[in-house]
């Protein structure tokens, strides 16, 4: 009951946040001094064609009216028509988002498992080899820009060593599995297409690592700090006094407590993963939502940019809601 109330409360708050995002996105898209019609038709278009287009896109209406129309559209899950692809934005999102989701999920898996492992290992072996390694690894992770790491890895593993495939989700000669979920790994498992699975996995490794690197670093640092704190707590001493092995003391008693702050970070980094996806997808030519938004920007395709951004905000909010529920699950004190 308590949990249900909590979830409802959080859902209402989430709607408020999304409305805020919508306002900001709308205002930014409409006040920057650039003309989408000009970008669409070029500088030499005859004035009557320009007016015709302006009317067609509804840009001749007053700003307030356009806002109301847009909000009404969003409520009906209609985000307008992309100026570049001429498809409804919702269709485009459906087409491009699974690629981003797959990338973000694999990146999260990599960063959560690697980050927690590194953080725990460096807290337990404080100021020893692994701790120093993790420290350098993390500093590089948070300070290197995503596009640079991406280019560097492409240069080394794709161009020089030829160990991993380059851009895209699959090699050109691989038949993609039938689209069910849109996630290549899952679809190829459903179809039993192991060639596509293996190839898709190889394609995923580099962009997912690049995307997850920064998050790995922050998860590792937070886990280390909170683990060090937990190892000093009285209940860890009690666990040792009970005669538990070092492994059980760390896994069962310290780690579960140490993960509470880490989970918060995971929620926040999931947001940065979606945001980082814009750059990663551009570097790796990944046909995802991030690249869709970037390409939209380049031609001032406002409906696409606004719709895509709003959608990412929605996913981000949902991710944080899940984190909050996880939080209550991990820490019984949060359930009251």
């Amino acid at each position: 009951m308590g949990l249900l109330n909590f979830i409802i409360k959080r859902l209402l708050l989430m709607l408020l946040v999304l409305f805020g995002v919508l306002c900001i996105v709308f205002v930014i898209a409409n006040i920057i001094p650039a003309d989408p019609i000009g970008a669409l038709l070029g500088g030499n278009a005859p004035p009557e064609v320009v007016d015709q287009y302006r009317h067609k896109l509804g840009l001749d209406k007053p700003l307030a009216q356009r806002f109301v129309d847009y909000v009404a559209g969003v409520l009906r899950w209609d985000l307008g028509v992309s100026l570049r692809t001429n498809n409804p934005v919702t269709e485009d999102i459906k087409k491009f988002f699974p690629a981003t989701l797959e990338l973000a999920i694999v990146a999260t898996l990599i960063s959560v498992s690697l980050g927690i492992w590194l953080g725990t290992a460096s807290a337990v072996n404080r100021n020893k080899g692994i701790d120093h390694f993790a420290r350098i690894f993390s500093i590089l992770g948070v300070s290197m820009p995503v596009f640079w790491t991406g280019l560097l890895l492409l240069l080394v593993f794709y161009y020089k060593l030829e160990w991993l495939p380059g851009p895209g989700r699959l090699d050109i000669f691989i038949f993609p599995p039938k689209t069910v979920t849109g996630l290549i790994l899952i679809d190829s498992i459903i179809e039993g297409n192991w060639t596509a699975f293996w190839n898709g996995l190889q394609h995923l490794i580099m962009p997912a690592f690049v995307l997850g690197y920064g998050a790995t670093a922050s998860i590792a640092r937070i886990t280390r700090a909170s683990m060090l704190d937990c190892l000093k707590q009285d209940y860890v001493r009690t666990a040792k006094a009970k005669g538990l092995s070092k492994r059980l003391v760390i896994r069962r008693h310290a780690l579960r407590n140490a993960l509470i702050p880490t989970v918060t970070i995971i929620g926040l980094t999931f947001g940065s993963l979606l945001e980082g996806a814009v750059l990663t997808e551009t570097v790796f030519s990944w046909p995802g939502l991030g690249r869709y938004i970037t390409n939209g920007y380049l031609v001032l395709d406002y409906p696409a940019v606004m719709g895509g951004t709003l959608y990412i905000a929605l996913i981000y909010s949902i991710a944080n809601l899940i984190v909050d529920i996880l939080y209550a699950f991990l820490d019984p004190r949060m359930r009251v």
Binding site: Q233, Y235, R237, T238, K240, A241, N257, I260, D331, R333
Partner: protein
Amino acid sequence: MEVLLSVKNLRTIFHTYRGVVKALNGVSFDVYKKDFLGIVGETGCGKSVTSLSIMRLIEEPGEIVEGSVVFDGRDLLKLSEEEMQKVRAKEISMIFQEPKMALNPVLKIGFQIAEAISTAEDLSIKSKEVWEKVYEILRAVGLPDPESMAEKYPHELSGGMAQRIMIAMGLVTKPKLLIADEPTSALDVTIQAQILHLIKELVSEMDTTAMIITHNLGIVAEYCERVVIMYAGNVAEIGDVKTIFKEPLHPYTKGLIKAVPVIGTKGKLQTIKGIVPDLVNPPSGCRFHPRCEHAMDICSKELPPIKEVKTGHFVACHLYN
């Protein structure tokens, strides 16, 4: 009387930025079987460090540098970590000062007790046998409705209940020795007596041995049979409670007993002059000599050895050499 635990010349130090803290400066005492021993001293005199050293739970930057802890015929300081884990699981239990901090906040208390049983007896933590014992011990420590109690988390308990859980956890494995480190300091005065009664009762029921660490002489007078008085990392005096309270020999013990207020007497409370020494640079010789009224030349030069002046009454003071 048969000796269960014999601590000899135990030296534990802590490496800090200020320098090396000589927390234990050669502590020696014996614990007999079925003893109810009190270890008394001011804050920072090394009572807790002694118990943690016995359990080998001294963490970095601490280090046991010398001495022996012979328990049931084996020197615990020479055991491997795995063997020591078995000793902690089965033979020596420990209860800590802050019961609510000493329980893991994210695990149900039933699970935390079950864990102690399953570790000691090598049973699966889910087995029926283990959980029957959990309910049994919860009843034994006076907690009503053990089944629902076992499902609770530590934050749902009061301090007194939490300490009962700690006692349950410590005694459920039927250890040969129970070490209680200030078991009641964090509790309300009204609860303190209940908890101590409970410990005393269960210990004598189980025919086991207990070592209570406290700074409260009242607790010692009321519950203990023998007492070890510690000062600044040394043992000052050992004896049975009656002797120590009636005929204290060490000047520190005398001061300590005079410092206890007696109801019905007015007048200024006696104190021991001076403060507890800094253990990075402890006084030379007897560490008590700067505060001692009877200090002699030799006191600042030589550490007095501990000497049996009467059967069972030991004192470490140059006055009795």
